[in-house]
């Protein structure tokens, strides 16, 4: 007969065995090699997945990170900078009237599917982007947005001059053209792949000339690429395999890096950057500051249209303290809209000095000796230029409060925020920009295109500024263009249309043995340069 105590002992023993088994599984490393980054495989931790592998119809930065490795452009940005260097075009020139751009192409380059790269291939790609009746133009749900924004107005056609010379013929000059072509949305896709998979199909079957060949894309999980042995930059890429893993949670991505499952990562949490600094297995790199944050006034608002009120608000905010305290040491105070990596900046921008006494005096002069109340809107999401919108918003409101301006902090869902900044709902709000390329038109052209009294975003009315920006867009000489943009920016700063806050370097974290990972201003690093020490 089994007694009760013996029965429970049996249960306890069973539990002990199960516990021992689980412990065994946990402490025996087992197939740890199944998920660890190896010596010839570089694993990049991404913060999100792309929406397509066909950059021309995507504006998704997560797509661009991948396609930068598979495709080439006619011209590209120098590693770590926005300056231009040859890619598939070895040289270029523009006619004096600015209407004909001639590109000499690199010879002996083949796409991953063996198709030769030549002028005909370039024309195939431009025709596809430009002409709606092109058989490969139609992409289900896809929009050629960058083409529409940067090329559509000026482009007429492309001509094959000889197998390795191609001309772009324009209807009107487009001075930022070369800089615009450094955006991966103008990638050269294999004409044979367009024929084989169609305009929509190349979105999942990318065939380029780049350092890595596409192997597989498991949505929301990873993209695997393998080294292209015939890549035209000899000796590159330096790793055999490139995997881009999607780990959306910043903290989880950091833990994967600490555990050695990924080799490097983007967009860490600020606290994790501090942890990484003290971790002997990790190191930090940076994307150069290619972003700017600012406070934007609704210039049609009865309060904000008064220059003295704007000056008072600007003088009340301690931007230096905000940048020092809330940008984890990676920010610098902005003096104008464009970051220091850009040309066309104002050499000596009018200073905005933190001076609460002066702010109070200006308020009194404006007829508000006891201050006033208003709604101040902060961004609800984290952006490189405002890494923590709420904290920065709170700091600004606190500064304003010290001079008697009672700023009621407000925010709303990001989707609504984006929409409402184009209405007159916000008297003052946080905004910013991340550059697409190294041309000032991408900055000033986008933020000062016109006056619209119904939109806080475009509530600044200065025809001289609009005129300068429009003229700069069709001027051939970069020196003259630089002067025009600087002049336009001087007007904008003089009128205190916005209060520039900060430019932020964007940290990248990596394992100690990773070399050659150069942070790119546009966030699309060239993984071909990466190797393990």
């Amino acid at each position: 007969m089994v007694t009760a105590p013996q029965g429970w002992r049996r249960v306890a023993i069973s539990f002990g065995i199960v516990a021992a088994l689980i412990t065994g599984v946990l402490i025996v490393p087992g197939s740890v090699t199944g998920w660890a980054a190896g010596p010839t495989t570089f694993i990049w931790g991404k913060s999100g997945d792309g929406d397509s592998m066909d950059s021309p119809v995507s504006t998704n930065g997560e797509t661009y990170e991948v396609t930068t490795q598979i495709f080439n452009l006619l011209v590209r940005a120098v590693p770590g900078k926005t300056d231009i260097e040859p890619d598939l075009a070895t040289s270029w020139s523009v006619s004096p009237d600015g209407l004909t751009w001639t590109f000499k192409l690199r010879q002996g380059v083949t796409f991953h599917d063996g198709t030769p790269f030549n002028a005909e291939a370039v024309k195939t790609n431009f025709d596809r982007w430009a002409f709606k009746d092109n058989p490969y133009h139609e992409v289900k749900g896809g929009e050629y947005e960058y083409w529409g924004d940067f090329m559509a107005d000026s482009y007429k056609e492309s001509k094959v001059v000889d197998p390795y010379t191609v001309q772009l013929i324009l209807k009107q000059p487009n001075s930022p053209l070369l800089q615009n072509l450094t955006i991966i949305a103008f990638q050269m896709t294999s004409p044979a792949s367009l024929k084989q998979y169609g305009g929509t199909g190349v979105g999942t079957h990318p065939v380029g000339t780049g350092p890595f060949k596409f192997v597989e894309w498991v949505r929301d999980d990873h993209v695997t690429m393998t080294a292209n042995p015939t890549f035209f930059r000899k000796g590159l890429p330096k790793v055999q395999r490139l995997i881009m893993r999607v780990i959306k949670d910043n903290a989880a991505r950091f833990l994967a890096l600490k555990a050695g499952e990924i080799s490097a990562m983007e967009l860490p949490n600020t606290d994790d950057v501090k942890v990484a600094q003290n971790d002997p297995n990790l190191k930090i790199g940076f994307r150069p500051p290619f972003n700017t944050s600012w406070l934007r006034f609704n210039m049609t608002n009865s309060l904000m249209k008064d220059p003295k009120i704007r000056q008072a608000i600007a003088a009340a905010i301690n931007r230096q303290a905000i940048v020092q305290g809330l940008y984890a040491g990676y920010g610098e105070v902005a003096t104008q809209h464009m970051p220091p990596t850009m040309w066309g900046r104002v050499a000596s921008p009018p200073p905005i000095t933190y001076d609460p006494a002066k702010a109070k005096q200006l308020l009194a002069e404006a007829g508000y000796p006891n201050g006033f109340s208003f709604d101040f809107w902060y961004i609800p999401v984290s952006r490189p230029y405002f890494p923590n919108g709420k904290e920065i918003g709170t700091a600004i409101a606190s500064d304003l409060n010290k001079v008697g301006i009672r700023a009621h902090l407000q925010t709303e869902d990001w989707a609504v925020y984006l929409k409402d900044q184009k209405t007159t709902k916000f008297p003052l709000y946080m905004a910013g920009w991340i550059g697409d390329n190294g041309d000032p038109d991408d900055w000033l052209g986008f933020f000062f295109p016109k006056f619209d009294a119904t939109s806080a975003r475009w509530s600044y009315n200065n025809p001289a500024v609009f005129d300068l920006i429009n003229k700069a867009k069709v001027e051939n000489s970069q020196a003259k263009r630089a002067q025009m943009y600087a002049q336009a920016e001087t007007y904008v700063l003089r009128d205190l249309r916005d209060i520039p806050i900060a430019h932020a370097r964007v940290p990248l974290l990596m394992r100690k043995n990773v070399e050659g990972l150069i942070g790119q201003p546009d966030a699309n690093e060239y993984m071909e340069l990466v190797y393990f020490r």
Binding site: A4, G141, H222, D249, A252, L255, K258, K419
Partner: protein, 334 residues
């Protein structure tokens, strides 16, 4: 029984119709415009209008709902605003991963929850009981995302025994059969892949299973305590049946009914837990997809997801009702 199941199945239709109507209305009551999110910071009014027209967002709400229902009954749930792919094509490949995680979590919840409950009830107010209830309390109290990160920290970063995220190691190749990786590894005799997949499954399963484990443990304890005080238990003991046999055969069998009900209800917990857990562990399942879609305001995906989750929830409840008949011979359905 067959008639009962058929009747219940028909009753699903008005439930799903109601769910779809409420979900449709609530989503559209939210401020914000998916077209703006879709086009992003570059948005021009023309681009927004184009997108609104393309996805039918410029039509009156009842018309949009009517079109949606008409398409849905034909199996067309629309296109994702994010990927432009058919919504069903997005859900189908992600489903096996969520099923794998749910099975893992149910296994954890049953294997831990029921024994803890039984032990606590068998020795009420003992140290074992108090420890068991402490575990249960912790299970319901600890936020899932925090627990997940802590487990990763301990078992992946420090012990290096388990991976931090994903469903299968990037260096492992596996021929898909069912797309449930552990099962596929076993079916194809790819032991390395099965081992790797199991290790990937362990931490997310414990995370998703933590709350259901706690609730099942408490329910089992309460139900068992009640059962163990019944006359038939006393009679069994008087007849000389040993402690463990009494507890398992006479106690647990009679206490199971409410426990099964709770397990069924916890199914919703598995699904909502999966949304957070799949995000932390980068588990390529339906939960993470839903989370991303909510952030992106991907209306077609959110609606289809709500319908899908609701369908699963009511189906599980149907299964639970049917199970009653097997567990309690006194219950008969007509």
């Amino acid at each position: 029984m067959a008639r009962y199941i058929a009747r219940r199945a028909v009753a699903l239709l008005p439930i799903l119709l109601g769910v779809s109507a409420v979900a449709f209305l609530m989503i559209h009551l939210l401020p914000g415009d998916p077209a703006t999110v879709y086009v992003g910071e570059h948005a021009t009014p023309g681009a927004i209008e184009r997108v609104q027209h393309e996805f039918g967002l410029d039509k009156p709400l009842p018309v949009q709902y009517g079109i949606y229902l008409w398409n849905a009954v034909r199996g067309n749930f629309g296109e994702s605003l994010d990927s432009h792919r058919n919504v069903l094509d997005e859900f189908v490949p992600r489903f096996p991963a969520t099923i794998e995680l749910t099975l893992g979590a149910i296994t954890v919840a049953l294997c831990l929850g029921i024994p803890i409950g039984i032990m606590s009830a068998a020795k009420p107010n003992s140290i074992l009981d108090r420890f068991g209830m402490l575990v249960a309390l912790a299970g319901v109290s600890i936020p899932v995302f925090w627990l997940g990160l802590m487990l990763i920290y301990i078992f992946s970063v420090y012990i290096h025994a388990l991976p931090t995220s994903g469903q299968l190691g990037v260096n492992i190749s596996l021929v898909p059969v069912t797309h449930i990786d552990v099962l596929d590894g076993l079916l194809t005799a790819n032991w390395a892949a099965a081992d790797d997949a199991l290790r990937h499954l362990l931490l997310p399963s414990v995370t998703v299973g933590s709350i259901p484990t706690a609730i099942i443990a408490r329910m089992t304890r309460a139900s068992m305590l009640d059962a163990l005080q019944q006359d038939y238990i006393r009679t069994a003991r008087a007849k000389g049946v040993t402690g463990l046999t009494v507890v398992i055969r006479h106690g647990l069998r009679n206490a199971l009914l409410p426990i099964v009900t709770v397990i069924g209800l916890q199914f919703g917990g598995f699904l909502t837990g999966a949304i957070l857990t799949e995000t932390i562990f980068s588990w390529p399942g339906v939960g993470r997809f839903m989370y991303d879609s909510i952030l992106f305001r991907d209306y077609p995906v959110i609606l289809a997801g709500i319908l899908l989750f609701s369908l699963m929830f009511v189906l599980v409840n149907l299964v639970v009702d049917v199970l009653y008949a097997f567990l309690d011979p006194r219950i008969r359905y007509a």
